[in-house]
Amino acid sequence: MKKQHNLFNLFTTFLKIGALTFGGGYAMMPIMRKEVVEKKEWVDDDDILKILIISESTPGVLAVNSATFIGYKIAGFKGSLVATLGVIIPSFITISLISLFIIQFQQLTWVAYAFKGIQAGVAILILKAAMKLSKKIHFNLFAIAILVFSMLFALFMNVSVIYLLLIGAVLGIVYGFLIHVKEAKTDVSNPS
């Protein structure tokens, strides 16, 4: 473990990871694993699993979470800074370049047609993402109610998405507490 490493090497590795992944997030994990576990042997599979678990329960961008975590693990604060910069610089450069030309491009009739088609593609992609995420939760009455209410409120009301998320979190805490109390009670009434 922890073969030779220096900050420059760390930077270029994450630069490569940022430049080679489309979609980011989970799509990135196989490439990242290959680089940092198999090739460089900086971290092991347990660490990758740990990053995924931490990312599930913290906000933020998975690519940045992973880069920060691995960078810190192998070279402290400097390492986390260098790895994070590495993973975002390819995006920053590519998108800056594209956006300089996109306005001129969009005025071309055929490009405008293409973007009209892309609108449908994006709508489908977002729906697919929601379906994929919903596989990760356990659907009971509580979860279904929260899902339906947050969907309807976001669709029909002028209410900030952040409030809807906070309300979801608070209701989750209340619900978890009630379940906890109920379990404690049944334990008392049925001493087995």
Partner: protein, 201 residues
């Protein structure tokens, strides 16, 4: 200028802080803060998502850079880059700080019951929000004059070509479940060119 930059930074900091579950979970927040605040149009946001999906790099960072670049484009490339810097830094910083704290202090906090319970409500809420965005987009593609927020169900302006593209792309992605986002975007772009460009009515 400086205030706008600060504002952009702060909006994307909030977006980064409240994004649970990857780039797509960001979209309801971006729509709320930036389309709602009049920084970008709903159509521009969809184009940004399409391009961010089909270029390398994390979608969240791509979108932040894109929107930042778009804000000061008329003032020259230097200002545009400054805008992109503000938004990208904003979206990255919450992740960076939180993971740094966890990596240095340990993840005991995450194992607490309160955090686990909060996610019981947070996860379905995120999914509901993402579904609301896609429902809005799907309806908009076929019936562009319907406005859910003002309960204005105006069925005029029915876009048959939009519906056809939606059905084809939807059908193909149901059939080929493993189709990557890049391919879905490319496929729908070609379909858009064919249907809008070659069919006369």
């Amino acid at each position: 200028m400086f205030l706008t930059l600060l504002n952009l930074f702060w909006m994307f900091f909030k977006i980064g802080l409240f994004t649970f579950g990857g780039g797509y979970a960001m979209i309801p927040l971006i729509k709320d803060e930036l389309v709602g605040g009049g920084y970008i149009t709903a159509d521009a946001l969809i184009n940004f998502i399409g391009i961010s999906e089909s270029t390398p790099g994390p979608v969240a960072v791509n979108m932040a850079t894109f929107i930042g670049m778009s804000q000061f484009q008329d003032m020259g490339i230097g200002y545009a880059l400054l805008g992109a810097f503000a938004t990208t830094l904003g979206v990255v910083l919450p992740s960076f700080i939180i993971i740094l704290l966890i990596a240095s202090l340990g993840s005991k906090f995450l194992e607490s019951k309160i955090v686990n319970h909060a996610f019981l409500g947070l996860k379905p809420a995120v999914i509901g929000l993402i579904i609301s965005v896609s429902v809005g987009l799907i309806v908009h593609a076929a019936l562009p004059n319907i406005d859910f927020k003002s309960l204005n169900f105006d069925f005029s302006g029915f876009n048959f070509k939009g519906l056809v593209i939606l059905v084809i792309v939807g059908g193909v992605t149901i059939f080929y479940k493993k189709m990557s986002p890049v391919k879905i975007i490319l496929f729908s772009a070609i379909l858009g060119m064919l249907i809008y460009g070659l069919i006369p009515w």
